[in-house]
Each structure stands twice: as C-alpha cells, then as structure tokens.
C-alpha cells in the first residue's frame, strides 16, 4: 500500500516534469535573467554587472515614463472596450441568430480570413487608406462630407486604436462564441417562458454564462495591446509611445539594462491587471 503510494507520487512527478522543465528553462529562467540585468549598468556598447537602482531611478524619475504608462493603459482600455462590444455582438449573432450549424461554421471561418495574412501587412494596409490623399479622405471629399482632408485619420491615437481593434477583435470573438455555444438553449426558453424580455435574458442569462469567455478574451486583448510596440510605431508614425516602444528603443540603442527595467515594470503591471481580472471571475471554476 505504502509502496504503491510512493510510486504513484513518483509517476505523478515524472509526468509533470517535462512541462515543468520546459517552463523553467524557457519562461522562468529568462524572466529571472531580465530581472537580474535590470539592475546592471551599461555603456554605449557593453553591460556592466552591478546591483544598481540607476535604471529604475531614471525610469520612475522621468515624467515621460508616466505619460507613456498612461498611454499604454489608455490604448489597452479603449481597445478592450471596443473589441468587447464588437466581439460580443459578433459572437452573439453567430451563436443565437444563425440557426444552421453549417452557416455558423462558414461565417466563423469568414471571421478568420484576415488572419491568413501577416498582422503587419493588415496593419500597414491602413496607411494608404487613411492618408491625407488616401481612399478614406478622397471618398469623403467627393461625397462633400468634408472640405479638407482629415489629418487625424492617420498617425494619431485614432489610427492606433483602429489597428488594434482590427487586429484583435477575433481574439474576443472566439472564446465568447465558444462559451455561448455551450449555453443550454432550454435556459433561454425558460427565461422566455418566465416572461423575460430579450434584453433581460441577455443581461441575466447570457452575459453571466459567458463571463469566462469574456474574461479569456479580455486577457488576450489586454496582454496583446499592453505588450505591443510595432502597431503603435507604424500607426502613430513614431509619434506616440507605449511601454513596448520604450523597450524596443532601448534595445535598438543597446541599452539592455534599461530595457530590462522597463520590461520588469511592464510585466508587473500586466500581471497585476490579470490578477485583478481573475479575482472578478474564477476561470477555472467556470470552465
């Protein structure tokens, strides 16, 4: 009995070992390294091992950091809100309005069509569209809606968020659609029989039951937007920055320790946000 138990324990440990090892080597170790390097000092071309708070002091001592931080969170929250509304609507339509399974699958696949090209290309294709002499401006002008080209269409916060929404809405659609498909249809009938209006059913039945999908989608969108740098760089014409761009600028200029310090702060923030989200909904229980 006792020997069985130990061997069962042993097998359990062994089964868990490969994944644990992979995570240790490729996740935990690099993160530890980043944390260590963030305390180092650097010159133009080399790093000096040290234990110095210089990088953090510079980071927290500069008003630009706070502005950039605010920008990052702003992009994340606006993109999250827009993708949530869009994603939920699309998923709701697919799950409850499209009756035949074939059409559901066809329409769902249609949603993924843009993903057949690289996200950089999808993003860059907005630039000629939104430009001063682009399609959007020339169309609006030919309709007589505007007299002069709208400058804020491109290289602005508007274009950044537009690109984020375009790139990441599907990450909201998929998990929400998935949880919606698993809602027992008789619950909706019961709500209807009990006299609930469509809106009441939505608020009291559908939304609570899709909470886990919403939460998974939110985690996707928020982490992707918080960690992005290339979308912000291209769509703002290098004129605005988020934390990712601070890091990429530092790396480009060989300031690895400073980049590491920014990365640590960004990581901590994202982890805190995810932790807060997980407190609202216990994903493991819901799944």
């Amino acid at each position: 009995m006792n020997r069985n138990l130990t061997s069962r324990h042993l097998i359990g440990w062994l089964l868990a070992a490969p994944l644990a090892l992979v995570l240790l080597l490729f996740l935990i170790l690099p993160i530890c390294l980043i944390v260590v390097v963030s305390f180092w000092q650097s010159t133009a071309f080399s790093m000096i091992p040290a234990f110095s708070f210089e990088n953090y002091e510079f980071l927290f001592g500069s008003p630009v950091t706070y502005a950039v931080f605010f920008n990052t969170v702003k992009y994340a929250l606006i993109s999250w809100a827009v993708t949530l509304v869009l994603g939920f609507t699309v998923a709701y339509f697919l799950a409850f309005h499209v009756r035949s399974l074939t059409w559901q699958v066809v329409l769902f696949l249609l949603c993924t069509v843009p993903f057949w090209t690289s996200n950089i290309i999808r993003m860059i294709s907005w630039i000629p569209f939104l430009g001063r002499n682009g399609i959007a401006n020339s169309t609006l002008m030919s309709w007589g809606v505007i007299d002069a080209p709208l400058e804020w269409l491109l290289f602005s916060d508007f274009s950044v968020i537009l690109a984020f929404v375009h790139l990441y809405t599907l990450f909201m659609v998929v998990p929400i659609f998935n949880t919606m498909m698993r809602i027992d249809r008789s619950l909706l009938e019961a709500a209807n029989d009990a006299g609930a209006s469509g809106f009441q059913t939505l608020v009291n039945v559908v939304i609570p039951l899709t909470k886990s999908g919403i939460m998974i989608g939110s985690i996707f969108v928020i982490t992707l937007v918080m960690g992005d740098f290339i979308t912000v760089r291209f769509m703002s014409g290098s004129q605005s920055a988020n934390m990712g761009r601070l890091i990429s600028n530092d790396i480009a200029l060989l300031q690895y320790p400073s980049a590491a310090a920014t990365a640590v702060v960004l990581l901590a923030t994202v982890l805190l946000m995810i932790a807060a989200l997980l407190r609202i909904v216990d994903i493991r229980k819901e799944l």
Binding site: F45, V64, E151, S238, R245, L246
Partner: protein, 421 residues
Amino acid sequence: MSKMRYSRRTLLKSGAAAVAASALPAPMVWAQEIKDITLRQFGTGVSNLNDVANKVKEDLGFTLEMTALDSDAVTQRAATQPDSFDIADIEYWICKKVWPTGNLQAMDTARIANYDKIVGIFRDGKLTPDSEIAQGTAPHSVGFVEGPGGTEFVNNESGWMTLIPTIYNADTLGIRPDLIGRPIESWAELLNPEFRGKASILDISSIGIMDMAMVCEAMGAITYGDKGNMTREEIDATFAIFTEAKKAGQFRAFWKSFDESVNLMASGEVVIQSMWSPAITAVKARGIPCVYQPLKEGYRSWGGGIGLSTSLSGMELDAAYDYINWYLSGWVGGYLMRQGYYSAVPETSKNFMSENEWGYWFEGKPATDVITSPTGDALAQAGDIRDGGSFEDRMGSVACWNAVMDENQYMVRKWNEFIAA
C-alpha cells in the same frame, strides 16, 4: 582562369609574400576552393545590394551573402554578435561605437591596391589641402589604429585602417517643390510653422540629433561648441526646441527606414523632411518632383566603410582583401555613384560611367542626355543639373559628420523621451 588572375595579381602587388607563396604553387586548388568560400556581409540598405553580390560571384568567384538592416540593428549586431558576420559594412560613427568591443580587425593598407587614390577625407580629413575639417565624427579620426591589434584610434595614416571607405554622401533636407512653391534656403525651415503637420525627421538618434542641431543652429537658437560632441546643456536645449515643436504638431510622422521616408514624401503626407539621397531618387522615379535642397548652412555628411571581423583568417581573410580591392576598383563605385552616392576612389569609378553620367553626378555639369538609375528609371533629362552641384561643391560644404558623442547615453535617453513626449 581569367577570374584567377585578378586575385593573384593583387596578392602579389600587396606583397603578402607568404600568402601568395602558398596560393601560387597550386592555382587550380585555389580557384577550386575559392568557389566554396562564403563571406557574410551585413550593413545598411544603401550599399547591401544583390547586384554587388552577383558581380562578386562573377568577378571573384566566391559567394557574398548580404543582409540589410537599419543603422541601429547594424550597430547592435556588430557589437554583440561578432560571429554572425565576416564583413561589416558600417558607418564611421558606428565604428567609433563598435571598435572598442574588439569585434573588428585592423586592415593593412599595404594590401589595398588603390589606397593612394582614396579621397583625402578618409586619410588626413581634408578634401583639398586647404579645406577645413567639419565637426562631428570625421571619418579620418576613427579611420586608423596604431597596429594590427590596436584599440585606440590614431590621427595619422598609420597603415592600419579600421574601415576601408566605400561610400559616402552629403545629406540635406528633401522637399516637395510643387507643394511648397517657394525657395527653401535654410535648415531652419524644418520648424517653420508654415509646414505644421507636414514635416518629418528621422527616428535614428545619432543621425536625428545632428539634423536637429543643424536646425537649431540655423534658427540662431543655440550656438554649439561642437555639434558632434554636445554638452548635456546643449542636448537639453536642442530637445526642448524640438519637443515644443512636436507638441505643437509640427511633425506628421518620424521615419526609421528608407522606404518610410519615400512613402511619406511621395504620398504628400510630408513636404519637407530629413532624407537620404537615393530616397529622393526613388521619389523622382515615380514621376513626383522632389529636390535634395542645398542649404546655406551646409551639409550633414556621413561615410561608410567595410570592416573585417576579428574571426576572419586564412583564405577567408585573403578573399576579403580581394573583395576590398575589387570594391575600390571601380565597378561598385560607378554603380553607387549612379545612385547619387560618392565612391572612395572616384577616378576608378569614372571608367565604369559614361561621360554624361560622370559629368552629371560628379562634376555637376548639365546632363547632355537622359540620366537613368541603375535599374533603368529616368532620373533627369538633358539640361538638368544635380541638386547641389559638383563633388567639390557638395563635399566641400560639409558642416558636420554623423557622430557619436561622449554624452551618447544621455542623448539616447533624451531621444527616447522626445519620441515618447
């Protein structure tokens, strides 16, 4: 065997007797083995051209692999991944940054056939005996070290070169004359409120800061001790002016790659911006008017060269010297000069250009016939004159060289803040 003769001759001429002795007794083996040699070159897009690699294969027999990166990435790779390349095609200011890492080896000028014909800028710093040396990281100041293993730059022609100069030019602002409609004469125009929302500057700190300095100095706002080596106060003052302009919406965008600058200009998003010569050419090739405007304050100049990785030795090193000698022998020079750059040894390039091309690109004479780019697009019609004129006119009015300063790290952080502001 005709391909062989070239390398044998240069080897002999260079006086590397030992190497030649081992190579000459068995030329067949050498010819066979050289085909198996692959040299990995990386550098900025300007001179990493597939046409050059193809021509190397044809003329010298070995394979040259090209990787084109932006200036920041080039610096990063040269400094941190010495084993990832054999030949670094970098700029002189990058050399100042990278040389102390010991990833590059000095080159023996005795093995460079055309060394004596290299333009003075790269040797004693002077275009003509009486020209003044401009501010910034002038190429000759980081061009030589005291010996094969030297780590300190020396300011004389020591016989050991850090980079063999290959390509250089004088940069200024690019403008869209059709959208501006009046003459532009000064760097200060970049911050003229008239061009609010239609100006751009490049987002590469070490070059961008120089353009900024040219503008601030032209505005009369700041007087610099040395634009190529600013003090913290000068850096702060420069960024203060540009941050204010940025917040006021002066800039439409910043660009980092060549293609971005072309698109900004060609689409009319921007009418005045920092630009590189071939970008102007690319805009013109689309049939859109674009001028590389000479300005009264002078040019911001840059130069690039080929450096050899420390890990190169033996036959690969010989092949690299062959490559350098071939590079300076004229074909590449002609190719680059037809794009508006200058070659380090102009006189050899002349043999590879038509009289019309030489007159237009180098001597600043009116074109006698259509001028085409190496890819065949018409760039100028008969009677047109190159923006800025002749080689002496352009390279003679250089106000500063691209540079890396003592306060580089501070400047870089300030640059980061400027982009984020």
